[in-house]
């Protein structure tokens, strides 16, 4: 089974999903990320899905779960790079990814995480 690598850049954990994941791979990533957030005290998680040609309900649910788990562990998650065709399909499928923050690309995702960190440090 493939295992998706998790990179650490300062306060941020970075995940780039580049393979068509089996369901078990997605579940393992969810576990690995949860453990890494707790272990490193990361304040941000960025998941780059620009290489994914489809996101079905299973992967969508995984993205929602990771965002929820990260929030409880006091980290902000941002999903970046979703292809337009994937977004159209997700909405029609009925998945709105509630609670998942998104950004068009890595740069904007980093900016979103930076702002979120500032807001938290000012106690908003």
């Amino acid at each position: 089974m493939d295992r998706i690598p998790i990179l650490r850049m300062g306060d941020t954990l970075l995940v780039t999903i580049q393979v068509d994941m089996q369901d078990q791979t997605a579940l393992t990533l969810q576990d690995d990320l949860s453990n890494q957030i707790a272990k490193t005290g990361a304040s941000g998680v960025m998941i780059d899905i620009s290489a994914l040609e489809i996101v079905d309900s299973f992967v969508g649910r995984m993205l929602t779960s990771i965002s929820g788990i990260a929030r409880i562990l006091s980290a902000t998650t941002v999903v970046v790079g979703m292809q337009p065709a994937v977004a159209i399909t997700l909405v029609e499928l009925g998945l709105s990814l509630d609670g998942v923050r998104t950004a068009l690309n890595v740069e904007r995702g980093m900016e979103l995480l930076r702002r979120s960190r500032q807001e938290n440090s000012f106690g908003h």
Binding site: M21, I88, E92
Partner: protein
């Protein structure tokens, strides 16, 4: 595969779900579907393959290129000999789930394709057929 007009893929493991997505992508490209239509058909195939594996206890995906009124299309059949669905109307309701999922599989897939047909009865397995027209 390029010249085949129909075929069958077993759906007996999680790897087979990945294989079904890859096969459907190739077939959609042969049909020259638009990128959005390809994405919708592959996503629907992924949902229904998972249903066949998880709820049907495994089965198969049969595929065929079809033609009607001069239009070409891709038709997929997901078949299992599992426990079947007792209440089809309920299973096609958004948000209704038999347990593990979010209840999007059947109604969601239906919205992603041009034609959707389902036959199932308690104890008699399930067959879901979907078609995307070029």
């Amino acid at each position: 595969m390029a010249t085949e007009q129909s075929g069958t893929l077993p759906l007996l493991s999680e790897q087979n779900i990945v294989a079904s997505r890859q096969l459907v992508r190739t077939l959609c490209q042969e049909l020259k579907l638009s990128l959005v239509d390809q994405t919708k058909m592959i996503t629907a195939a992924s949902e229904l393959s998972r249903n066949t594996l998880i709820h049907g206890g495994g089965g198969r995906m049969r595929w065929e290129f079809v033609e009607r009124n001069g239009r070409r299309g891709l038709m997929l059949h997901f078949e299992d000999e599992g426990p079947g669905i007792a209440d089809l109307a309920l299973a096609l309701t958004d948000g209704w789930t038999s347990g593990s999922g979010m209840g999007l599989g059947l109604p969601g897939s239906k919205r992603l394709v041009n034609e959707f047909d389902i036959a199932s009865a308690s104890g008699q397995g399930t067959r879901v057929s979907i078609t995307k027209w070029k």
